[in-house]
């Protein structure tokens, strides 16, 4: 049975109301998952209480697959089948990856994305990432005691479409429903609650194990926009370890160490770095396999001094990002620190000095991205209650949204890939004289004909004042809010009568269906255009027939029998042509009817002008 947690007074969730959702930081060196429990975001640990999962996958010769700590252990023994930092390969071809020759892997070039040959066959980065995600999913389900409704996965702000799609595909392979991909800096800002803060510009300083990223975010009405990103893909906490390691070698005056000793010294260097975050000095005592003894004390000052150039190096991308965004350091309202290496006091000091303000450091910099993703995931599955701050999320709509127009054609109002939230308006008019109501059919899809699109909703606008066809001005506004909720409103300009409807456009569509619809849209584009042209001619023909019939009713007396018969014959011919389905012939029929009724139209015009002028003096006009 489900286990209950204590809720805040009056906040007990109704049963089954809560849906389990997690946020995943799929990192280059580490990955982790977090969730919101009792309105607090927490990271999910394994049986041993470890939160971080090393992003390492080991394909064993016996068909087994190890992920995380177990895979790290296998790395020295079986480097070729132990994949580290797979994130660098996501959505990439072989040509895109730098330093391929220094990597212990056997690459296979395949169209699109590279593959790594392992003892278990060729593996794409998507498949390898999926193993990491699968491990996180298993951990989350064991932790939360149920199936997940979905996950928010973070990606670097600079990830392109291919890399984002690869990340989504990996999640799907791992059996995760991706609620949304979220930019890492945005997730960090969300974790700090900056989305509820005042509007402004924020910087996210992310110094990870092996990479450095700086993003400038602009917050407007709760939506984060990435203004600029910059970074250094070969600068991270590991470089600080390496400096210290070299310093130790130098000071201890030892011979170049063996592979095992190197590894032990490197680990020692890392431990000292971490210790110097909290204390002023750290001892370095180690007895090497070579028989040599290392006995040193590393002071904080010495460590800061030797790594100062590295800290300075991070400021160059910061300056570049600011310049790209056309900003000065004092324009930045807050600085968020992400990545374990930002724990180092001198890094924090340098950032504080540069921006002239203390950076935000009270959340664990290793976890802050996952925590923000979890908060986002929680909001996206609808666990937040009414009255909570509304969340605006930046996303794009996957398929165009439009309206059905006469003849079953789809008129696209919001094109696909528009970022959310978005609002577009277009004016429509009446088709018939005296038309007082209008039916709206909201559709989604890339196809030209409504029949090939997905129907979302129908509603009517009533109370339009009777006017001649085409005179009414009905403004239809499509608005998609940040949650993907579409509202369509129609308003008649003169009287102000209004009608509106709410729909959730992406609801119930799987990614496959969306992909299928997109593909069909592209493949059938030619057919669709022809079909559209035909429908347009048919609608035009009907409009002409309608207008002529009305004119005959009103002013039939202006015609003699022969003229009457000629127009009637042209109308009849056009009626038959409409059903023929031949665009060009319908167009010709419309032209023929126009010619046949030309005289009649001129006579009607004269008469109505005479009627209008009757009883008026020339001067009055």
């Amino acid at each position: 049975m489900a286990l209950l947690q204590i809720a805040e007074p009056g906040m007990s969730a109704a049963p089954h109301e809560r849906r389990l959702a997690i946020g995943i930081d799929l990192g280059t060196t580490h990955s982790l998952a977090a969730t919101v429990k009792n309105s607090v975001a927490v990271c999910l640990a394994d049986e041993e209480g470890r939160v971080l999962v090393p992003s390492v996958v080991h394909y064993r010769g016996d068909g087994g697959i190890e992920v995380g700590h177990a895979a790290v252990a296998a790395q020295p023994v079986d480097p070729r089948n132990t994949i580290v930092s797979v994130k660098r390969f996501m959505g990439r071809g072989l040509a895109d990856v730098a330093h391929v020759e220094t990597m212990p892997y056997v690459f296979e070039e395949t169209p699109g994305m590279l593959r790594l040959r392992t003892v278990q066959g060729g593996k794409t980065p998507v498949e390898i990432s999926a193993e990491i995600l699968r491990a996180l999913r298993a951990r989350a389900e064991a932790n939360l005691g149920g199936a997940l409704a979905g996950a928010v996965i973070t990606v670097p702000a600079y990830f392109d479409d291919a890399q984002r799609q690869a990340t989504k595909d990996a999640a799907r392979l791992a059996g995760l429903h991706v609620l949304r991909l979220l930019n890492e800096p945005t997730a960090a800002a969300v974790a700090y609650g900056l989305d509820n803060a005042a509007e402004g510009l924020y910087a996210v300083y992310d110094l990870g194990g092996g990479t450095f990223d700086l993003s400038i975010l602009k917050l407007t009405r709760g939506v984060f926009e990435v203004l600029a990103t910059n970074g250094n893909a070969a600068l991270g906490g590991d470089d600080f370890d390496h400096r210290l390691y070299c310093w130790i070698l130098d000071r201890a005056r030892i011979a170049p160490p063996s592979a095992t000793d190197t590894r032990r010294l490197q680990m020692k260097a890392r431990a000292i770095k971490e210790q110097l975050t909290v204390s002023d000095e750290a001892p370095c005592q180690l007895r090497l396999d070579s028989g040599e003894n290392v006995d040193l004390t590393v002071s904080r000052e010495a460590f800061f001094e030797m790594t100062r150039p590295l800290v300075q190096k991070t400021l160059a991308p910061v300056r570049r990002a600011l310049r790209d965004a056309g900003l000065a350091p004092q324009d930045i309202k807050g600085v968020v620190m992400v990545g374990g290496a930002t724990r180092m006091p001198h890094v924090q000091r340098a950032v504080a000095g540069f921006f002239g303000q203390e950076p935000l450091t009270n959340l664990d910099p290793d976890r802050v991205v996952a925590l923000g993703a979890a908060m986002q995931a929680n909001a996206l599955v609808g666990n937040r209650k009414a009255g909570d701050n509304d969340w605006l999320l930046l996303d794009v709509i996957p398929l165009s949204l439009g309206l059905e127009t006469m003849g079953g054609l789809s008129e696209k109002i919001i094109p696909r890939n528009s970022t959310l939230p978005v609002a577009r308006a277009q004016e429509f008019t009446t088709f018939k004289d005296g038309q007082t109501a209008m039916a709206f059919h909201v559709v989604q899809g890339e196809r030209e004909l409504v029949a090939d699109c997905r129907s979302l909703a129908r509603f009517e606008l009533r109370g339009i004042p009777p006017m001649t066809a085409g005179a009414a001005r009905i403004r239809v506004t499509f608005q998609v809010d940040a949650d993907g909720l579409l509202s369509v409103a129609a308003r008649e300009a003169r009287t102000g009568v209004e009608a509106s409807i709410l729909v959730r456009p992406s609801y119930g569509l799987t990614d496959d269906e969306i992909a299928g619809m997109l593909r069909a849209g592209i493949e059938r584009a030619g057919d669709d255009l022809a079909a559209r042209a035909l429908r347009e001619q048919q609608v035009e023909a009907e409009r002409a027939l309608e207008a002529t019939a009305r004119a005959l009713d009103a002013d039939g007396g202006l015609l003699d029998a022969e003229e009457h018969a000629r127009i009637a014959a042209a109308m009849e011919a056009l009626r038959i042509l409409i059903a023929s389905g031949e665009t060009a012939r319908i167009a010709a029929g419309i032209a023929a009817l126009a010619r046949a009724s030309e005289d009649f139209a001129a006579r009607r015009m004269d008469r109505s002008i005479r009627a209008a002028l009757a009883g008026h003096k020339i001067e009055e006009l």
């Binding site: 049975m1 489900a2 286990l3 204590i6 109704a14 049963p15 089954h16 999910l44 939360l144 005691g145």
Partner: protein, 107 residues
């Protein structure tokens, strides 16, 4: 009439209240909803209300409103760990059956 906590549950409740920084006890209750008719309520208590009945169990104040007490009499609240998941479990002698997930029940 009584509602009790196991010693382990009491320890955890006290711990959670301590972490939260305020609260005088824990409220157990039922509300009508869920797939089997009623659902348990488990909340921190900042103030007691007029129709509340307060029990003491292992030093922790257990607050139940009179209406809920009818359905909860004899209930023992336990704190259990199941794999990686842990939390409170109602052991309610009045519950005739409960839905598969245990989040709701009927009497």
């Amino acid at each position: 009439m009584s509602v009790t906590l196991t010693e382990r549950a009491a320890r955890h409740v006290a711990g959670f209240i301590g972490k939260r920084g305020k609260g005088i006890g824990i409220r157990l209750g039922v509300k009508t909803s869920g797939c089997s008719g009623m659902a348990y309520k488990l909340e921190f208590v900042d103030e007691t209300l007029a129709d509340d009945i307060v029990f003491d169990s292992h030093g922790v104040k257990v607050v139940v409103d009179q209406k809920s007490l009818v359905y909860l009499d004899g209930t023992e609240l336990d704190y259990v760990r199941e794999g990686l998941n842990e939390g409170f479990r109602f052991d309610n002698p009045n519950a005739k059956n409960q839905c598969g997930c245990g989040e709701s029940f009927n009497v």
